[in-house]
């Protein structure tokens, strides 16, 4: 391309700064500019409207989706929907709600220590550029991209079948734990990286070992960030269906911890999202489905607010530093 260009110029007479050409270009600008400005205005107005349209469309979808579900669901948030017993005439969401909390707590109890621990290793211990770190990074990225149905398949093949846990609370919780592990890891890593090095130097300077420095000087100021990640993970647990239907099953009862003790971990359970999926696909209790959707939505909104709040705190902590 450039070669062709040069040739063209050579044939036109080498010194392009020839006296006449400057004026020709000047008059070219004069001729074109005024006319073009009007067209430019139209094009810009058009571009501006498309951009606004894109934003408007997103807003409309958001408001309509949330609004429609609230309007149709809120009137059916009756006390009977929150009764302790589920049966086919009164599709109470209470057992599923309790199961969701147990399930989420269990999986976070597994995922958070592992996730935070490995993030601490990656940020505070590992040498930069080590092979091990590179492999961990790649696997984390891979885990993050795997769709939940694959987790569900794996949970079914491994926990349910190979380990003979059957469709159970524990199998579901373990599956979810693996699924949210990369979320916790990533956010913790980012939170730790955001802690200024001066904190670490302060710890080492006082003669504290690495472990003490990490726990006393680094972790405390990373807590809001880590919390944000935990809340994000919680949100995924609450909303998950595909990873649970073949691992935790869909029995709408609270596991009987009082009667069976830890054996209740192997009871099949149904979380709120699975409950809603079942209701929606049965199609018999449409109003209750709306109401269940409202409860799910409210939970997600609350978790979002919490995460935003945590992130704000993190930023403030950062600017204080």
């Amino acid at each position: 391309m450039s070669a062709k260009l040069t040739i063209a110029f050579e044939s036109a007479g080498a010194p392009a700064a020839a006296p006449g050409s400057g004026n020709r270009i000047d008059s070219l600008f004069e001729a074109v500019e005024e006319r073009h400005r009007k067209r430019r205005r139209v094009v810009s107005a058009l571009l501006r409207s498309v951009v606004y349209l894109g934003a408007l469309l997103t807003t409309v979808v958001l408001l309509f989706l949330v609004g429609y579900i609230l309007v149709n669901g809120v009137p059916y948030l009756t006390p009977s929907l929150f009764e302790w017993e589920y049966n086919s005439t009164n599709v109470s969401l209470m057992p599923a709600l309790v199961n969701t909390l147990i399930m989420a707590a269990l999986s976070l109890a597994m995922a958070v220590p592992v996730g935070v621990g490995s993030a601490i290793y990656l940020v505070e211990y590992a040498k930069r550029g080590s092979k091990f770190v590179a492999v961990v990074r790649t696997t984390t990225e891979t885990l993050q991209g795997i769709p939940s149905i694959i987790y569900g398949l794996f949970g079914m093949l491994f926990f349910v079948t190979a380990l003979h846990w059957n469709l159970s609370l524990l199998a579901g919780a373990c599956t979810l734990a693996i699924m949210v592990l990369p979320v916790v890891m990533r956010t913790t890593e980012e939170a730790l990286l955001a802690v200024p090095d001066s904190y670490r130097e302060g710890g080492f300077g006082l003669g504290a070992g690495r472990l003490r420095t990490v726990f006393r000087c680094v972790l405390p100021s990373a807590v809001p960030g880590i919390l944000g990640g935990v809340i994000l993970a919680l949100g995924r647990c609450v909303g998950e269906v595909a990873a649970l239907i073949f691992t935790a099953g869909s029995i709408a009862q609270i596991p009987n911890f009082a009667g069976e003790g830890l054996g209740a971990l192997f009871d099949s359970t149904r979380t709120l999202a699975v409950h809603m999926y079942t209701l929606a696909s049965e199609g018999l209790h449409i109003n209750e489905t709306y109401a269940t959707a409202v409860v799910l939505l409210v939970m997600v909104v609350l978790l979002n607010l919490l995460a935003t709040f945590a992130a704000k705190k993190m930023n403030k902590g950062g600017s204080d530093a």
């Binding site: 989706l65 429609y68 799910l296 979002n304």
Partner: protein
């Protein structure tokens, strides 16, 4: 002193072990998927499995080509619906929105990202499907419904990633364009957006990953017929839907074929992840 050493050593070992768990998890997932899926593929025959157009478990005929095509169609549809809207919304948030509007829309986008897929699926079932049924040919449960719904679902992914890419474009490019007499729109579309293109592409690839892996929402609106759809108003079954719909009662080779569907999906996802990494790397090199 030595006690401290022991404590440090134990802590270090624990942290290493924690970091190792994600490797273990990926290894286990691969082993169990492949160990259960590959024998089934071997029994069916790889070409028959991948390119067979008939899926009839009752007769032990397992061709997942319609589902592969279904996943690709649905994802492509989601891109057509979601990418322009998401990209424009990201441009709006990054370069056009006033502080107040952004303060409303940004949390809104985060909320969209947090809404569970069952809720999306239900929304699709009660709004999108009836709308298509009433205004267009077909029964409503269709490729079109799935594409529109997935397009909405990938919006937050695309908006968030594209916006952070746009926000990261140095101010000096924008100012340079203005100083040459370009107006705001031209500066944004001809200088800022091209400068952010690798980040935007990364967002799109991430959206593709989400769309192709989405399960519950698609099942609720797509109709799920295991045949290659003849129009956008026809029903369609994706790979993800195939697994969920039949796993509950499948046994033996049928079950193996479903796991093998998961393997194919997994390979798709790995390819997409690799593509994502390549794009990201190239963006960093720039």
């Amino acid at each position: 002193m030595s006690q401290l050493h022991i404590k440090e050593g134990i802590a270090r070992a624990l942290f290493v072990a924690a970091a190792g768990i994600s490797i273990l998890a990926v290894a286990l997932i691969c082993v169990f998927l492949f160990a259960n899926g590959v024998p089934a593929i071997a029994e069916i025959g790889l070409p028959e499995f991948l390119f067979g157009t008939t899926w009839r478990p009752a007769n032990d005929i397992y061709g997942i080509f319609p589902m592969i095509v279904g996943s690709i169609y649905v994802t492509a549809g989601a891109i057509v619906v979601g990418v322009p809207t998401g990209l424009l919304c990201a441009i709006f948030l990054s370069r056009f929105a006033s502080g107040k509007v952004a303060a409303f829309l940004k949390p809104g986008v985060e909320l969209l990202a947090g809404i569970p897929s069952v809720v999306y699926g239900f929304f699709g079932l009660v709004i999108i499907v009836p709308f298509i049924r009433d205004t267009m040919p077909g029964r409503g449960l269709s490729l079109l419904a799935a594409a529109v719904l997935l397009g909405i679902m990938i919006l937050p992914t695309i908006i968030t990633v594209a916006q952070s890419a746009l926000d990261a474009v140095p101010k000096k490019y924008y100012e340079g364009a203005l100083a040459l007499g370009a107006d705001h729109e031209r500066s944004v579309f001809r200088v800022v957006v091209p400068a952010a293109v690798s980040g935007i592409m990364a967002g799109i690839v991430l959206g593709v990953g989400r769309a192709i892996g989405e399960t519950m929402a698609v099942i609720m609106v797509a109709g799920n017929q295991p045949i290659i759809p003849e129009s956008i108003f026809a029903g369609v079954r994706t790979m993800t839907a195939n697994i969920v719909l039949e796993m509950g009662y499948a046994a033996d080779l049928h079950r193996g074929a479903l796991v093998a569907t998961g393997v194919v999906l997994f390979v798709f996802i790995l390819l997409i992840t690799m593509l994502f990494n390549v794009i990201k790397k190239r963006g960093e090199l720039k």
